[in-house]
Symmetry: C2
Subunit: 333 residues, 2 copies
């Protein structure tokens, strides 16, 4: 025996009004006489009527659902953003369809398509490799799309970020100020805009400002994993580096622990500064110095921006830049 669903029609019949009226009271439309409203509400309560959101979505062309594409929920940086997104979404009565992309272009395109098929009202995209194909899909979408904690070199989509160039430059300058001349730049794939177009630029800028020559032997392109960082020590030492800027906290933890395990003292013999200021930075010993980012807020602001876009409100600034900082902990002098 299937559980029976009660529809708006049942309520209308029982309350001796039309479906239109029931719909009005359900949606808080003021054009209903208080007495009628009360009557309808009673029936709704009695029958335990619950509006079917799918039918509503079909009729109104709004699903109050947004899509969120995330590289990996398991990643502390992105999950912090996701938390900010969800909280604000909930505040505005939206739900979130969350999908992991592994920053895999093909998967991203596919996911984007199913999200659009599901008629989401908006999309938040996280991931740093916006391919042409992806950009094309973005354009095709009738739902607004905002990038959170993610950059696209072409700046074609609304986005929320910090000023990565300036932040990295400042972090590296800090290392330089401590007397380091050979500073490693450790990051994930250089195919990602955030690395080659932003972080590396900041790195180069700091070097240039200090009159230090750029040496690509000091640039280490690897995976965003703890293991990858851990196994980097020999190379780092071989290159003669005495400090490193790292583009991801987990990676940085690996780098640092790898160094420590190899007998290199952090920060005395080698300084490390990382990028994302996730919880991780406080857990490891020594605690890691880091660029600080308002992680939760990046997600929250992105979601807020999306709500405006979905309501066709005019927004003054499509690409918002949130403030960053530098947190000195114990992995730098």
């Amino acid at each position: 025996m299937e559980k029976q669903t009660v529809t708006i029609y049942d309520v209308a019949r029982e309350a001796a009004v039309s479906m239109a009226t029931v719909s009005r009271v359900v949606n808080g439309n003021p054009n209903v006489k208080p007495a009628t409203r009360k009557k309808v509400l009673e029936v709704i309560d009695r029958l335990d009527y619950r509006p079917n959101a799918v039918a509503r979505g079909l009729a109104s062309k709004k699903t109050t659902t947004i899509g969120v594409i995330i590289p990996d929920v398991t990643n502390a940086y992105f999950s912090s953003l996701a938390r900010g997104i969800d909280d604000i979404a909930m505040m505005y009565k939206y739900n979130i369809i969350l999908t992991n992309s592994d920053e895999n272009g093909g998967k991203e395109v596919q996911v984007l398509n199913t999200l659009m098929a599901k008629q989401v009202d908006g999309i938040i995209f996280m991931g740093n490799q916006v391919t042409d194909e992806l950009r094309e899909e973005f354009r095709r979408s009738k739902a607004p799309i905002v990038l959170a904690g993610s950059v696209d070199a072409e700046k074609t989509q609304p986005s929320v970020n910090i000023d990565y160039v300036a932040a990295v430059a400042e972090a590296v300058k800090n290392l330089i100020d401590h007397g380091n001349r050979k500073i490693a730049f450790v990051s994930g794939s250089m195919d990602q805009a955030i690395n080659h177009d932003y972080r590396l630029k900041g790195y180069k800028k700091a070097l240039k400002d200090a009159g230090i020559a750029y040496d690509d032997k000091l640039v280490f392109e690897t995976d965003y994993t703890y293991k990858a960082g851990q196994s980097l020590e020999p190379a780092l030492s071989a290159a003669g580096a005495t400090a490193a800027f790292v583009g991801d906290d987990e990676l940085a933890a690996g780098v640092m622990n790898g160094l420590t395990d190899a007998g290199v003292a952090v920060p005395d013999e080698f300084e490390v500064i990382t990028s994302n200021d996730t919880k991780l930075t406080e857990l490891v010993r020594p605690k890691m110095s880091s660029i600080t980012q308002p992680l939760y807020d990046i997600g929250a602001v992105a979601m807020r921006l999306l709500t405006k876009l979905m309501n066709n409100e005019t927004v003054d600034e499509n690409t918002v830049i949130l403030p960053y900082g530098l947190m000195k902990r114990s992995s730098t002098k």
Copy 2:
């Protein structure tokens, strides 16, 4: 100018067939002559037709979307499960509506209701405090619900877990075997079934087996946060404990770092063993010994189980128990 949507009707007209036929080819129904299929496919391609999943959901009463209730995406334990869930879901063509509950009963009930309103085909629930009200909602649901990494004392819902009692008992026995007599039990709220009904039982069992009297002064009920753990050191020392079993990795990292910072040597003066075997255990120094759980698999199996339930397949065992292990690292002797 709104972007125009092309509907199944447009395709039917252009291909000079009926909507029914278009629907058939879209859904891979074999009852279509190859020639017709080809013709329709061409038109679909030419018009760039994309089926509207909402309309489809209304007509078919299946949304290929499932709801996932998670305490906090930011938590490494749960986000690992979530990753397993999403991967399997994607494999079976489902999408996930993810919502954070903060293990707040009221929020959980509310979220559950909106999920049901959105006609999700199934629900995966994570959270260890199944209130009566919640249980009542579960019962009301026509979508199957499975618990992942979460226990309900009443065992009324399908679930996927490890044998917490045995695992904790083994972990504590290990501590006892190392000569510890005063072993602290550190966990989150005792209101949670997993703590008072499982972990604590395992703890008591191990003590009893070793002939050690249970002393509730050694039970520390706190928050699942790093900070909470860190500030526990004075109390731990005051109670004369020489070892601790901890119910959460982040909490355990806090405990351990708090101890270390206070000059208590881990593991020489104080041993720590934790519960979830998340990445964290490897990041901290010393690395933490832990009960090992197949995190990803718990999520994956839960999702797989859910697919069966959604298809009305008969499942032999509704409450599945996955194997656990014990990983000795450096926070125990």
